[in-house]
Amino acid sequence: MKAAFNLLVALFGMWLLWSGHYTPLLVSIGLVSCLGVVLLCQRMGIVDREALPLDLTWRTLRYIPWLALEVVKSNLDLARRVLSPRMPISPQLIELQATQKTDLGLVTLANSITLTPSTVTIEATSDGRLVVHALASDIAEDLLKGEMDRRVTRVEGSVAGTMENTA
């Protein structure tokens, strides 16, 4: 119930932000449509704490700039590879054992890997085994060093407390 209410507040806030019309009639129509969406979600059974992951902690905020920097670096590297006439690539599949304990942490890692160009997560199982396609052997080695894994685990550690509360 609390999750549904939070979802309603978030949806209505979003509606207010996007509409730009604040006459009583339009606002009430917006409220009714937000209620409709929440009811629909409830029928589908997808209203839980994952519907609104508000676990932003200080460590999450520090992880995002690091990830952005990684993305920029690997973008430049990939652009150089694609533009060079000989295309120095050697695609390979690697297996990675993730150290995250929760699904959210695992998904964060898998998504971060995919977001970085030149590495794509192909498969992720809930016991933490990731199959990753990397474009070149040095990129694969970089990933296997596990820097990203360590950082995601640290973020997960800071979020874990709030997770048990609402579970």
Binding site: L17, W18, G20, V71, V72, N75, L78, A79, V82, L83, R86, M87, P88, I89, S90, P91, Q92, L93, A110, N111, T114, L115, T116, P117, S118, T119, V120, T121, I122, E123, V131, H133, L135, S137
Partner: protein, 110 residues
């Protein structure tokens, strides 16, 4: 005379356009499906990010900036999700990735 913000904005827009072009070129040049996924993700991250950042500098501080940020956020969240789903579906349906090394085969191809 254009201000510093304008110049910054144009630099971002042009760099973003460059990365969009590189991404399409990668889609054309790379040898197999799994490597093309990497090409597509250039435009999802760098291309979209830089172009939208350039537009943010044009818009200044207003509601438009918030909307641009939301567009970027949605692109950054949905981009990897759909490319992961695509790669997983291809892998499950038995499309084998091409794993030969281009560096080794370069001499025999040219």
């Amino acid at each position: 005379m254009p201000g510093a913000l304008d110049i910054l904005s144009w630099a971002c827009l042009l760099a973003g356009s460059f990365f969009a072009l590189v991404s399409s070129l990668a889609m054309l040049r790379l040898p197999d499906f799994y490597s093309r996924v990497h090409g597509a993700s250039i435009s999802d991250t760098m291309g979209a990010g830089l172009i939208l950042l350039g537009l943010v500098f044009q818009a200044g501080l207003s509601l438009v900036t918030v909307k641009l940020g939301l567009v970027l956020m949605f692109l950054v969240i949905t981009g990897p999700t759909s490319s992961h789903t695509l790669a997983k579906a291809a892998y499950r349906l038995g499309l084998d990735p091409q794993l030969r090394s281009k560096e080794e085969n370069a001499s025999s191809q040219n």
